[in-house]
Structure formats: C-alpha cells, structure tokens
C-alpha cells in the first residue's frame, strides 16, 4: 500500500500544484490553458475512482505520514464511502468548473489568480473530506474559509464584493474557531486525534459531561459553514463571486463541508436527544426560510443561493433524524443537489455572461438564441423540482419515505418539507422557464449560444443527473449506499429507483408538484405575502453584520480612548497603582507583616543629621514652588545619600555618588537653561492628595518589604568569598573594584555599553532635526564646530 499512500498524497497535492502553476499556464496559453489545468483535478478524480471497488466492498483505505510526533499528530487520511463520494464530487465537479471558468473568465486580467484560488480551494476541500486527523481537518476547514474569502472578493473593486468576502470569512472562520474548540474537547474526551479512532469512542463522548458543550461548538462550526439559519445570510451575499465560484463553492462543495462534518460525526455524537432536536429544528427552519427568501429574489444567482440554503437545511434536518431512511435520503439528496445545483449555477452564469444581466425580470425569450442552454437548464431544474426521470426525484421519494411516521413531530416536519419542496419546485421553474420563454427582450449584451467551455460543464452535470436516475442501482452501489453506510456505520443497501410505487411518498410528491405549480402560478402574490417576514429574516442578520462590525469598531475606539488617553500622567499613575497593590496586598493577604523594629539606640547625632538632611532634601524638592528651586534642592538629597554611603563604609559609592549627583545637576542645569518654563506648575489640592496617598502607599509597601526581607538571616557566602580571595587571587585590595572589574566584570561591560550608547543617543537626539539634516561630519572636528 506504500505506493497508494504516496499516490494519495500526490493526489492531495495536485490542486496545490495547480494553484502554483495556474498563473503561468494562463499567461502562456490564455483561456485555453483551462484544458491543461483541468488535468490536475481530473487526475485526482481518476485516482480516487480507483478506490471505488474497494470502498463499495466495505473496506476503508487509510494512510498518512508522521507529522507532529511530539503532539501525537500525523498527516493522515482515510477513505470510506462518505469521504470517497465527496472526493469524487470535489474533483469531478472541480474538473468541470475549471473548464467552465476557462470560458467564463476568458480574457480577464486576473484569470491566472482566479485559477490559483480555485485550486487552493479545491485542495482545501479535498483535505477536509479525506482528513483523518482532527487538526488536519480543521486546517483545511479554515483554508476553505480563507480561499472562499479570496474568491468572493475576486471582484475586489466593488465594495459589495469586499463586504461579502469579509462576511463569509468572519462567519465561517469564526464558526471554525468554535469547531476547533469542539475538536479539542473531543480530543480531550477520547484521547485520540483521528476521526477513524474516534468512532470507537462514541459512547464515551455521548456520556461525557462536556458532551453538550462539545456538540454546540461543533454545530457552531457546521452551521456557519453550511449556512444554517441564523447564519445563512453570508451565502447569498457570497454570490458577489464570479459564477464558477458560486457553482463550485456555494453549491457543490464548501457549504457541504458542514454537512459532511455532521455526517462524519453522526456515529460519534448522534442519536442523542440534543442531536435529534437541534439538527432537525435548525435544518427545518433553514429549509423554510431559505425557500421563502428564494421566492422573493429576482436575481438568478440569488434565487439559486437561497435554494441552496434551504437544501442544506433539508440535509441537516435529515441527518438529525438519523433513521435509516433519513440518512439514505440525505445521501441521495447530497449527490443530486451537487449535480443539479452546480449545473443551474453554471446556467445562470451563462445567461449572465451572454446577456449581461441576471435579473429575471429583464430576461425573456432566450430559448431561441440559446437552445442548448435551455435544455440543460430544464434538465437540471426538473431534477431540482424532484420530477422523474431525474435523480432529484429519487431523493424526494426517499425523503418522504423517511419522514413518514405517526407522531406530531414527523407530521410537522413532513409539512415543512412539502412546503419547502413546493417552493423549490416553483423556484426551479422560475429559473428554467421564465428567462427562456416568451418574446425576447433587449438585454445589455445580445445573446448568443455559449461556447463549449461554458456549456460543457453544466451539460455533463445535467446529463449525469439523468443517468444517475436511470442507472439508479449502479449509482446507489457506488455512491449512495457507501455514504449511508459510512454515516450510520452499518452496511446499507438503497434500492429506490425511478419505478413508481404507489404510496404515501408518491402522494406527497404529487402534492408537492401541485403546490409548486400553484405557487409558480401565483408567484407575485406569494412574494407580496411573504414580504414582511422576508425583510425581517433576510435583511435582519445581514444588516446586523454591518451594525456589529461598525459597532465593534466604535466601541473599541471608545474603549481605547479611555485605556490609551495619550497622557503620560495617567499612564504613570496606573503603573504606580499597580505597584502599590503589589507591595501592599501580599503581606496583608498572607498576614506576614515585618516585626516592628526596635528603636535604633546606637545612631550618632551626626548620623541623625545626615538622615535629617536627606529627609529635608526630599521635602525641599517636593515643596519647591517652582521647578528651578526644585532642581537646586535636588542636590541636597543626593549629597545626603552620598554621606550615608560614606558613613556605612562605601567610599567608592560615595565617590561615585558625589560625582554623578553633581553631573546630573549640571546636565539638568544645562538643559533647564534652554527651557522657558511657565511658572505655574502646581497641582490642584485634590490631585496632590491623591498623588501623595498613592506615593505614600508605595513607599510604605517598599519599606515593609525591605524590612521583612532584611529581618531574615542573611546568607553571606558570596561576600565571604570575595573578601577572602580578592587580594590573594585577583590581586586587588579594593574588594568593590575587584568585583567590578573581575568577579563581576561582565556587569561592567554591559554598564559601559550603556554609557557609550547614552552618549550616542544624546548626540543623535540633539543633532538630528526632523526635516533638516544638519551637515555635520561626525568624525571631523573641523567641520563639527558650532555655527
């Protein structure tokens, strides 16, 4: 199997290779490069096709490479019925989309980039469905969000496209973050990092106390990706993308990632009350809202987009039911939807491309100019409407079979589904009939039949929709049954076919058709009736997105104005508030205040005088009315400190302190000389009280800390060592200096680096003037004189 592993890895890499190659291929071959580029997904498709016999035989093909051993993660994939079906759809439809895009964006200046994005997306999507490792799945998951961001924003000069791209990124990417948390929780619960392993921990997961949390997080990921209500709004907006993108991402693949995840996790997380309530509820709601919104649209792509929303709702609902028929129905519908929706989107693209508009009210009578397109459109629409002899019909039959049951819940959902399907029926015909029938009207571009690159893809998909229904047993054997088996982890054998079996499902189908025709007939009225509800459901969340973003920015702006007011004084005050807290709180909390010190009896008069002078010096600086007085007074405390050093046996320190203190004052004076200070710099009483309290708190805290720290016995090993060997080994009698230049010479090395840099920095500070570079030659004293 080693070569299979390597080949599969290569197949996964093919789209990425395509992404790298696309710009060059397009630059060389122009739009015809699409034929060349289509080879990449085609090869991958063929590769996956090879697994069909094995998988239909119930096998699972797995492989992978070591990746992050330190976290027990591997780059691993596995193929069962579900992932294989998805892989085939992705690469198969992907091939067609590449060709279609070659025609659709012919001559577009960014066609190369477009192909890169499409291929990146394809690779990511393929990655999602074949990943075994959680993290790999998540990585590819987010990669689809990112690439769809790029694709939706492809027409980036339009604000609407930019907005839609960001919206998609944030909704699906944000959901992805929830998914990450959910996956990590699953990792925590099970201890495994791979889907195939996780299947064995279904019971453990379901019984875990954090099951519900994990479920909600996973659902947040799946629902956002699959545009479930109330996260549905991004999908119609994503129609800003070029039509090949809509056809591919927003019908066949990306939006199905959520559905895929739910199907994948059904054996692990399904069959619990929460699962069986949440999924059908949101799925059903989405179905109704989506179709209702679709009715109202006049833009072809938007109409289709909303039906996509509802189809996804339907799928989620079916997964939530989890019964054998429901899952089988989901499997069939999944395939059917990919075929007909992909085709319809491409048809919408053709119409747009050839006429210059997608507004259904401005289109009519295209049948004569574009007969082939019409045929394709009709075939796909019939499948979508659930009419025989198309694959959609099979799906609908199986759905109704699944829904049949005696209880109120089943009835409710049956009603919902019938209503939804009827609306979808109406939409299908609105798309397939309205533009083609009637008297031709004037369109921005005079319509012609589409070139082969454009019609090839939808034709193949529409034809497949027919063939799949006709050879339904083959289709089931290869696709539907393995999918179903993978979802339920039990062998499945689906037998629904075009043969009509009288019964409740067929009756429901008939009802759906009748209802659908009725709605199509009365489309205008239905629209009007739904207007109010639609405005709320359709514009509400979408408008909310804008409000949320601008509100967030405004809120952040206001918050930052408070947190970052640009006043040094406030910054310093906050800093010292923290200092005070840190110095005062721990001793109080831990109840370890220092012992009260005894009165120092052995302090000489002159020592008191020095201490007094220090205190007076401080006070002098503090009470100085103007800053000049304060500066001169600064010298006092400096001298006092030097005196203290002197009195306690630190001549080096006193020496340095005297020098440095003086030089500091000198520099202060030199600097002050230049300043013309306003005399008034007193703070108001309230402020000074606050400042004093804060300062005293900090001072008190530091005193307490120092007292406490020095009351413990002292370990003087270092000092003993220095004292003993300073002269005998380091040849110096002044122990302090020996420490400075020898024992701890490295400190001094850093210290002089500081001094040198300070010199340099001050030079730069004084010399460099914004705008006017002074022409002073740095190393030439002759040039560096003043003036």
């Amino acid at each position: 199997m080693a070569d299979v592993t390597a080949l599969t890895f290569l197949a996964l890499c093919l789209p990425f290779a395509g992404a790298l190659a696309a710009p060059f291929v397009i630059r060389i071959f122009g739009a015809n490069g699409a034929w060349l580029l289509a080879i990449a997904p085609l090869l991958a498709f063929l590769h996956f096709l090879r697994f069909v016999p094995a998988i239909t035989g119930g096998e699972v093909v797995a492989g992978g490479y070591a990746w992050v051993p330190s976290y027990n993660l591997s780059f691993s994939w596995f193929l069962d019925g579900l992932s294989l079906a998805f892989a085939l759809l992705i690469t198969g439809i992907g091939t067609l989309i590449v060709l279609y895009a070659g025609g659709y964006l012919k001559g577009h200046k960014d066609q190369g980039r477009f192909f890169s994005f499409i291929f990146l997306f394809m690779g990511a999507m393929l990655g999602i469905v074949v990943s075994d490792s959680f993290l790999m799945l998540f990585i590819f998951w987010e990669l689809t969000s990112i690439t769809s961001f790029l694709l939706i924003g492809f027409d980036h000069e339009r604000a609407a496209a930019r907005r839609a791209a960001l919206q998609a990124l944030l909704v699906t990417g944000g959901g992805g973050l929830c998914l990450l948390a959910g996956l990590l929780l699953l990792w925590n619960i099970s201890g495994v990092t791979e889907m195939s392993q996780l299947m064995r921990f279904g019971d453990a997961v379901r019984q875990s106390p954090i099951y519900l949390t994990a479920l909600i997080l996973v659902l947040a990921g799946a629902f956002t990706k699959s545009a479930q209500f109330p996260f549905h709004f991004w999908l119609p907006n994503a129609m800003e993308a070029p039509t090949p993108v809509s056809a591919y991402l927003h019908s066949a693949t990306m939006v199905k990632a959520g559905v895929y995840l739910l199907m994948r996790l059904n054996p692990v997380m399904g069959a619990t009350p929460a699962w069986e309530i949440l999924l059908p509820f949101f799925g059903g709601l989405t179905l109704v809202v989506g179709t209702a919104l679709a009715i109202r649209q006049t833009d072809l792509k938007l109409k289709l987009a909303y039906t996509t929303v509802s189809s996804l709702g339907l799928l989620v609902m079916l997964i939530g039911f989890g019964s054998e028929h429901a899952v089988e129905a989901a499997a069939i519908y999944l395939v059917a939807h990919s075929l007909f929706k992909g085709a319809l989107f491409m048809v919408a693209g053709i119409i747009d491309h050839e006429t210059g508009t997608r507004d259904i009210t401005r289109l009519a009578g295209l049948g004569r100019a574009m007969p082939l397109t019409w045929v394709i459109a009709l075939a796909a629409a019939l499948s979508m409407a659930g009419l025989p002899p198309f694959f959609g019909f099979l799906a609908k039959e199986e759905i109704y079979t699944a829904l049949i049951g005696g209880d109120v819940r089943a009835l409710t959902f049956t009603a919902v589904t019938v209503f939804g399907n009827a609306l979808m029926f109406a939409v299908a015909f609105a798309v397939a009939l309205k533009p083609f029938l009637g008297r031709p009207v004037e369109t921005p571009i005079h319509p012609h039949e589409a070139p082969v690159l454009l019609w090839l893809g939808p034709a193949v998909l529409a034809a497949l929709g027919l063939l799949a229904a006709i050879f339904s047993s083959f289709t089931h054997a290869v696709l539907s049954s393995p999918i179903s088996a993978a979802i339920r982890q039990t062998p499945a054998d689906i037998d629904v076919s075009l043969a009509l079996h009288p019964g409740v499902p067929l009756a429901l189908s008939a009802l759906t058709v009748l209802l659908g025709i009725g709605i199509y007939w009365q489309l205008a009225r239905v629209r009007a009736a739904m207007a109010i509800f639609l405005i709320a459901a359709g514009r509400g969340p979408d408008h909310g997105f804008d409000l949320a973003i601008s509100g967030l920015v405004r809120f952040a702006g206001r918050l930052m104005r408070i947190l970052q007011p640009g006043r040094l004084q406030i910054y310093i005050a906050c800093t010292f508030l923290s200092v005070a807290a840190i110095l005062i709180i721990p001793p109080v909390v831990y109840g370890e205040l220092p012992h009260p010190p005894a009165w120092p009896a052995d302090v000489g008069l002159y020592e008191w005088a020095v201490l007094l002078i220090a205190a007076v010096g401080l006070a002098a600086v503090l009470v100085a009315r103007d800053r000049l007085t304060a500066i001169v007074s600064l010298g006092i405390q400096g001298f006092a400190v030097a005196m203290i050093f002197l009195l306690f046996g630190a001549p080096d320190l006193a020496f340095t302190q005297f020098m440095v203190e003086t030089l500091s004052v000198v520099i202060l004076a030199l600097v002050i000389t230049r300043l013309r200070l306003s005399p008034d710099d007193q703070r108001p009483l309230g402020r000074s009280l606050f400042d004093a309290a804060l300062a005293l708190a900090c001072g008190l805290g530091l005193t307490l800390l120092l007292l406490r720290a020095t009351q413990a016995p002292f370990n003087d090993a270092l000092t003993v060592f220095f004292n003993a060997y300073s002269k005998s080994i380091a040849h110096g009698a002044n122990v302090v200096n020996v420490i400075i230049v020898d024992f701890r010479g490295t400190d001094t090395l850093g210290e002089i680096a500081v001094v040198a840099v300070a010199g340099l920095a001050i030079l730069a500070l004084i010399r460099i003037r914004a705008g006017t570079e002074r022409k002073l030659a740095a190393n030439d004293p002759a040039l560096e004189t003043e003036g």
Partner: protein, 114 residues
C-alpha cells in the same frame, strides 16, 4: 589616662556634630532661597562643608583614603557652580518668561544663529 586616639576621637565627634549643624543651616539656605543664586551659593557651600565632613570622617575612621573623595568633590563642586552660574546668566532674573515659540519658528532660529 586619656590617649591621643581618644582626644582625636572626641574632637572628631565634636567636629562631626558641629559640621552636622552647619550642614543643616546650609540646607536651610538652599530651601529658603530666596533667590536662585542664593540657593546655588548654598549648594556650593554644602559641597564645601561635605569636603570637611569627609576629612573628619577620614580622621574618625582612620581611613585616609577618604581624602581623595574630598579632593574630587572640590573639583566637581566647582563644576556644578560653574554650570549654575551660566544657568543664572542665561535665564536672567525674569519671573515669568515668555513661553517658547511653537515648533517651527523656534527651530529655524536655533539652526541659524551662532
């Protein structure tokens, strides 16, 4: 019997106390002012007394090495006073000087003039 060391010790202690007093008086002048040169003068004096104090401590402790500190203190004390004197000179005796011209004008001025 009073030893020579005791005499010196007593004298140095007394000197320390006297110098302490002198220091405090000088500090008072620094604080009290009233004019800037007064404070500067007092600060200069503080340096001078500190030199004396260091000399006394050298006597009291017997570490003559302190004398070098006194010498350098004399030198830097001088530097401080020089700097302050030039400070006084450049500031003048004006209580409320005009605020600086804002940015640009001022800069042009500083660049051109010697």
């Amino acid at each position: 019997m009073i030893t020579p060391a005791a005499i010196v010790a007593a004298a140095s202690s007394a000197a320390l106390v006297i110098l302490g007093l002198a220091l405090i008086l000088t500090v008072w002048r620094v604080v009290a002012g009233p004019t800037l040169p007064d404070r500067i003068l007092a600060l200069d004096m503080l340096t001078g007394i500190s030199i004396g104090l260091i000399a006394v401590i050298a006597v009291k402790t017997g570490f003559s090495l302190y004398i070098d500190i006194a010498i350098s203190l004399g030198l830097v004390g001088f530097l401080a006073t020089v700097a302050f004197a030039r400070f006084v000179l450049s500031r003048g005796n004006f209580k409320s000087p005009a605020p600086p011209a804002k940015a640009g004008a001022k800069r042009r001025h500083a660049g051109g003039k010697k």
